[in-house]
């Protein structure tokens, strides 16, 4: 059900772990839904020089965290803010419909980490575009047995 790219990032996730004294942290999701994502960023000169994650969740959640942290590394905060869930999913060569929420979680995690950084710096948090909230979509459901 997963693309090769998802499996590759799941089996060998990049950027696992915490950053000590990070410049920004975002934690999204909740254990009730089965996924929590924590994104850490190091920021220098408005640019993300390092990103790491800790994730409790399914294969797609872990792969999305891995890919999302890869995508934002080296980007300015503005560029990183614009990394959408679609971009994450596309970079992963697609996600099953029921797993799209994992890429949304990654997008939210990045946004939260960036705003955490901005608030620590005494800046206004940026506002979320509408319609990007964490939902579980209807779609294919496996049988139970």
């Amino acid at each position: 059900m997963y693309s090769k790219k998802v499996m590759e990032h799941f089996m060998n996730p990049r950027n696992v772990g915490a950053i000590e004294n990070p410049d920004g942290v975002g934690e999204v999701g909740n254990p009730v839904c089965g996924d929590i994502m924590k994104i850490y960023i190091r920021v220098e000169d408005n640019r993300i020089t390092d990103a790491k994650f800790m994730t409790f969740g399914c294969g797609a959640a872990i792969a999305s965290s891995s890919m999302a942290t890869e995508l934002i590394k080296g980007k300015t905060l503005e560029e990183a803010w614009d990394v959408t869930n679609t971009a994450v999913a596309e970079a992963l060569e697609g996600l099953p419909p029921v797993k799209i929420h994992c890429s949304l979680l990654a997008e939210e995690g990045i946004h939260m980490a960036i705003n955490d950084y901005r608030q620590k710096k005494g800046l206004e948090p940026w506002v979320e575009k509408k319609g990007t909230h964490h939902t579980h979509e209807e779609g294919k459901e496996a049988g139970d047995s």
Binding site: P13, V32, G34, M54, F56, C58, G59, S145
Partner: protein, 396 residues
């Protein structure tokens, strides 16, 4: 993964058809292709094979052959038993009693009947997954037409007190159905001793083919048909018979019914050994389900701080096939309704692993799981923010 050991521990999901089962089926795919309803030679062969399978099924369940009806699987049997009884007895009443941990084939059928004007009581279970027979008795009203309680649960393996509930049902003259899909071949089943009116089974759970099942209907009970049409199955279940599938079911149930204590003793021993080992060797784990009233092959353990699907994917990469109660495999929001019903918190339910052992498992299989599982768990815990938090809290 090639060349690597493959360990199948998902026998509750499905099983590999026994070679004898496939061998029995082939002639009915190839040569005896006649429609059993026809009267010429190749059709009579097919009809006789169906009747032999019926006798074998009846013999294994302690029933009469005229009480066995072949279906397309456990789901159809459950739907038929429940809807058939509901519609047949609608004039008598509209109340159904079931449990919170039934298979969706029962729960969603009941849910649909609620939309048709029936009312359903979903009985709770205790922390081990047991239904309390007195709860069943208390739930019975004048309007109660059906009790449907599963024989054993597919996720946590808990075996329900069916014979006790059967007595209560008989005393109150309420039709009693049990979903025995997980039970055939695992423990002896005798419909008379259980006191059931209807019993569902599914061939692919006991080394038979997928898409073949049966419903036992006690003589005299007359549920409405679910599949109307031709006069097959004594006018109760229409449709050209899946002859090869039925023959496979017959062979499989014959094998499954033979020397159950002997055949399951090994499985049971492996189960106990592996369960004890995991609980001892891997911290933050708990066994779900009943310690003793449990299917011989079922292990269900929660691993705190990690999620089940990612566990399965890693195990699969080491050649181990298993299952989980996490919502993430099913695409639904909620983790397993069974694990919720026995009182697990959501995050623990998400981290459950089901290993269901079967006849082909070997000591080497157990050893392989033991060599792989701890690494899988710690790898996922290392990247889990919940695990990190727990450790921080311990330190502080």
């Amino acid at each position: 993964m090639t060349g690597q050991r493959f360990v199948y521990m998902d026998h509750a999901a499905t099983t590999q058809p026994h070679p004898d089962v496939i061998a029995a089926m082939l002639p009915y795919l190839r040569d005896h292709y006649g429609n059993p309803s026809s009267i010429y030679g190749i059709a009579r062969d097919a009809r006789e094979a169906v009747e032999v399978a019926r006798q074998k099924t009846a013999a294994t369940l302690g029933a009469g052959p005229e009480e066995i009806y072949f279906t397309a699987g456990g789901t159809e049997s459950d739907n038929w038993a429940i809807k058939g009884t509901a519609f047949a007895q609608r004039k008598k009443g509209n109340h159904i009693i079931t449990s919170a941990i039934e298979h969706h084939a029962v729960l969603h059928t009941c849910g649909w009947l609620e939309k048709q004007g029936f009312t359903v009581t979903y009985l709770p279970v205790d922390g081990t997954g047991l239904v309390n027979p007195s709860d069943v008795e208390r739930a019975i009203t004048e309007k109660t037409i059906l009790i449907t309680i599963m024989h054993a649960n597919n996720e946590i393996g808990t075996i329900e007190p069916i014979a006790e509930i059967g007595k209560i049902a008989q005393e109150h003259s309420v039709t009693f159905h049990t979903d025995a899909v997980q039970v055939v071949g695992a423990i002896p089943v005798n419909v008379k001793e259980l006191g059931v009116d209807l019993l569902s089974l599914s061939a692919h759970k006991f080394y038979g083919p997928k898409g073949a099942g049966a419903l036992y209907i006690r003589g005299g009970r007359r549920p409405d048909s679910l599949l109307h049409g031709g006069g097959q199955e004594r006018k109760k279940r229409a449709g050209t018979e899946n002859v090869a599938g039925i023959v496979g079911l017959g062979k499989a149930i014959e094998l499954a019914g033979t020397d159950i204590p002997g055949r399951t003793a090994v499985i049971r021993a492996y189960r106990d050994q592996l369960t004890a080992w995991i609980l001892a060797e891997i911290p933050h784990t708990r066994l779900n389900g009943h310690a003793v009233q449990r299917l011989p092959g079922n292990i269900n353990i929660s691993f705190a701080f990690i999620e089940g699907e990612s566990m399965l994917l890693l195990l699969d990469s080491f050649g181990i096939a298993a299952s989980t109660g996490s919502a993430c495999t099913s695409g639904s929001l909620e983790p397993s309704h069974v694990l919720m019903a026995i009182g697990l918190p959501h995050e623990i339910a998400h981290g459950s692993l089901r290993l269901t052992l079967g006849e082909e498992n070997t000591p080497e299989d157990i050893a392989h799981v033991q060599s792989v599982l701890p690494g899988v768990v710690s790898r996922l815990r290392e990247m889990s923010p919940l695990y990190q938090k727990m450790k921080e809290q311990r330190v502080s």
